[in-house]
């Protein structure tokens, strides 16, 4: 379960999150999560911008770009936003039962 991303920029609190409505809005802009690696210059700014849509609708694109420029740990941030985006669909389906994975395991390196 992913938690929303929160931060303060110039004394304003911001919360980045996705609900199903904003996930669809992002998709309607042509965003495809499985092509994020192929077109990072297009999709990452789009993902970041639409992460504001739930709590800060109408925020200026320039301000979002400005915030993105100064954001630390961008790689982790994008990873967190993708998790929030994926959660909108993953939460609709059950995890496979134990024994249904064919003894498949995975781990995270790093």
């Amino acid at each position: 379960m992913a938690n929303a991303v929160t931060f303060t920029y110039k004394s304003v609190n911001y919360t980045l999150d996705f609900d199903r409505n904003t996930a669809v809005l992002l998709e309607q802009q042509g965003f495809k999560v499985d092509e994020l690696g192929e077109k990072p210059n297009t999709y990452i700014p789009l993902l970041f911008y639409y992460a504001f849509a739930k709590y800060h609708r109408g925020i200026k694109r320039n301000l979002v770009d400005e915030i993105y420029k100064v954001m630390p740990k961008k790689s982790d941030l994008i990873k967190a936003l993708v998790e929030l985006y994926l959660e909108t669909s993953n939460s609709l389906f059950d995890e496979p039962d134990k024994g249904d994975e064919g003894n498949l395991t995975w781990e995270q390196n790093g």
């Binding site: 609900d19 199903r20 092509e35 994020l36 690696g37 192929e38 909108t88």
Partner: protein
């Protein structure tokens, strides 16, 4: 812009350059929304609420289904007993081969998961019974040896 992580993501399908069938969030949400509304989630919660709420609604729905199944099983039990109670006056001369089928000892398993849990439980019960049997046997054998030893000594 998160290039390291992003480059890993691009090959998440296993075969580079091969993409899966078009996956539309919009289509999936449109399809799933009526189901979630049927189990008590509101339209606004589904579209504008925290996505993980769907998990709780689904879990609650599973519990409710299980409770209903148990209630129906119990009701069936009362009905079965009532039938058994009046059966003697309904059939004056029952056939010699007539048998009463026992009522199910527990509600039917509604899901594969539940079925597997029951199988596991049954296997554990059998193993435990076998272990108890072996333990009783070993006590008996020890007792016999002890008796034999006493007789010899």
């Amino acid at each position: 812009m998160g290039a390291e992580w992003v480059s890993e993501l691009s090959t998440h399908n296993g075969v580079e350059g091969q993409t899966s069938a078009p996956f539309s969030y919009h289509k999936i949400f449109e399809e799933q929304c009526p189901f979630y509304m049927s189990i008590g989630m509101t339209y606004d919660e589904f579209w504008f609420g925290r996505p993980e709420r769907a998990r709780y609604y689904r879990k609650a729905y599973e519990l409710k289904k299980k409770q209903t199944n148990e209630q129906m099983w119990l009701q069936g039990m009362y009905f079965f007993e009532a039938l058994c109670d009046v059966a003697p006056i309904l059939v004056s001369f029952p056939s010699k081969n007539a048998k009463i089928h026992e009522y199910s000892v527990e509600p039917y398993a509604l899901t594969v998961k539940e079925q597997k849990e029951r199988e596991q439980k049954e296997m554990e019960r059998k193993q435990k019974a076998m272990m108890n049997k072996f333990a009783a046997m070993s006590v008996m054998i020890n007792h016999k040896f002890k008796q034999g030893g006493d007789d010899n000594g």
